[in-house]
Symmetry: C2
Subunit: 317 residues, 2 copies
């Protein structure tokens, strides 16, 4: 297992600069008053392809050797990693195959195709996905870019907090959502090198709290198909992300489905930006643990903004 280093992060930053955007940091006087903290929202919802995932995907795609280009890249994902890898492969002009359950939302499929990706459908089960994916790799010889358990991907995600540290002085804590742990691992990698005193909090749905239980247990616990509105946060930790989480994360805070949706509405209403439920677990965690954050300068990673506008979670309550 190769563990990415800060040199890899610096290389990633140069490699992907042309294909991603430096996202803005927004503040809200209202939310500062509400939390008694100084909050700095890093808006990866404004990122290319609508999510931070494009950082890691671009780093993987632009790390390929010339002799790998023709065979392209492949992954399995029904979420932002699928869009991001298709976008990055399109930028480099190489093939990208995404294995997706046939039940995935049509909007996501359309977006992958819009970026030039090819979709191979599987049944919505782990066994079908693995068999289909093995078939794709055998057939194409494509390089597998895992959504998070890949050193190139983690080094790419790490550029987000590197940017944030440049944009905001004197941060005392950073809060980011945790699913598979790619963003959190990147944050750990950057902060442990550049700002080791800044505390790192991961935020997670109560209904998909496998990372919190893993941290308490001291080993990876994976749940089978947890159900949460924060659909980017259902996947389990893997060995590479566990390395960073277990070594550098101060705490993992969990929030209920209602708290996630309320925080999401607050961000839309007060900040006038579109964020996914997965992004809102951060603010929900801060609202739930005021004593941890009061008086502090806190960076918040808003991870993405890809939502189905026809089916918003507060409409379904």
């Amino acid at each position: 297992m190769y563990i990415p280093t800060f040199d890899d992060v610096q290389a990633a930053e140069h490699r992907i600069a042309y294909y991603i955007r430096e996202t803005p940091v927004l503040t809200s006087a209202f939310l500062n008053r509400l939390t008694s903290a100084d909050l700095f929202f890093k808006c990866e919802n404004f990122q290319k392809a609508g999510a931070f995932k494009v950082r890691g995907a671009s780093n993987a795609v632009f790390s390929l050797r010339n002799d790998q280009l023709e065979r392209g890249v492949a992954t399995h994902s029904s979420g932002n990693h699928a869009l991001s890898l298709s976008y990055a492969a399109g930028c480099r002009g190489i093939p990208c195959t995404v294995v997706m359950p046939r039940t995935a939302p049509q909007a996501k499929k359309d977006a992958v195709i819009g970026y030039g990706g090819r979709i191979v459908e599987c049944e919505p089960s782990t066994s079908s996905r693995e068999a289909t994916f093995a078939e794709v790799v055998k057939e194409t010889g494509a390089d597998f870019v895992h959504p998070y358990n890949d050193p190139r991907v983690i080094a790419g995600q790490a550029t987000c907090s590197k940017e944030l540290l440049r944009q905001v002085e004197g941060l005392e804590a950073i809060v980011a959502p945790i699913g598979g742990g790619g963003m959190i691992s990147g944050t750990c990698l950057t902060l442990s090198n550049l700002a080791p005193d800044v505390k790192i909090y991961a935020a997670e749905p109560e209904q998909a709290d496998d990372a919190a239980r893993s941290l308490r247990a001291g080993y990876i616990i994976a749940d089978d198909a947890p159900v949460t509105v924060a659909d980017g946060l259902k996947v389990p930790l893997k060995e590479l992300t566990w390395h960073f989480v277990s070594n550098h994360v101060s705490d993992i805070l969990t929030v209920s489905e209602t708290e996630i949706i309320e925080a999401m509405v607050l961000i839309w209403k007060i900040m006038k930006i579109v964020v996914e439920p997965s992004s809102a677990v951060t603010l929900a965690s801060i609202l739930k643990n005021p004593e941890t954050f009061a008086g502090k300068r806190v960076g918040i990673i808003l991870t993405g903004g890809n939502v189905d506008l026809d089916s918003l979670p507060w409409m379904n309550r």
Copy 2:
């Protein structure tokens, strides 16, 4: 009738600087491709109180003489001007009374009260509003700050395009919505002084096209209670805004309700920001008139982001 000058705009800019924010300009590679233009979105949806109106309201409030402060300000509005004037009055610590129809949305009433404004309800008719408002002014001696037909308000709105010209070089056109004409008048005031070659386009709903018909007729035409999803654009021009519109606007472009809603969805989905229907008439106009804007650098004023998240227009179709 006092017509504000560019000196008034410069004075306004200094006067209100502390109470408003310099709003960011966003771009979208996707929307540039779609329109074959370079679009620069001036995000007044991120403005204090959620709309550009706070510029004019703050300029009026902070223009008051000391002997006027105790009597405060008053207006009639059920929209962003009501919130903005309450916000500005709160910043200066003076009373603000807003006459609102009792049928106005509770969210708007709550927001006015949240900013420290006082609401006096009237019946939803012009006669009741005028009678109630006359009563309020008689009782309080408050200074009337009209939502747009006021030189202080127009000079305040003019700071928006002044900022935009500083933020984006080489603009060839600016598109802004037109209702009563406050924002467009401010834009005319700034551009006619700083960048007279930049074309000014106003955008309006077909179903509330009184400004377009006025421009063609050569005199003010006012409609009685037009119906449109762009609820900030229902009001008619008045003599002061007519002065600017008739002298400086290149054209007034009209769009259908469907076109407004589709452009609104596009902005939310692609740009990940929350804007009102009134803001979306701008992009709708550009999409409808590609030949006018193709190949040009175009500034777009996104005027506000105060929407009812429980009742979005594409849900009601």
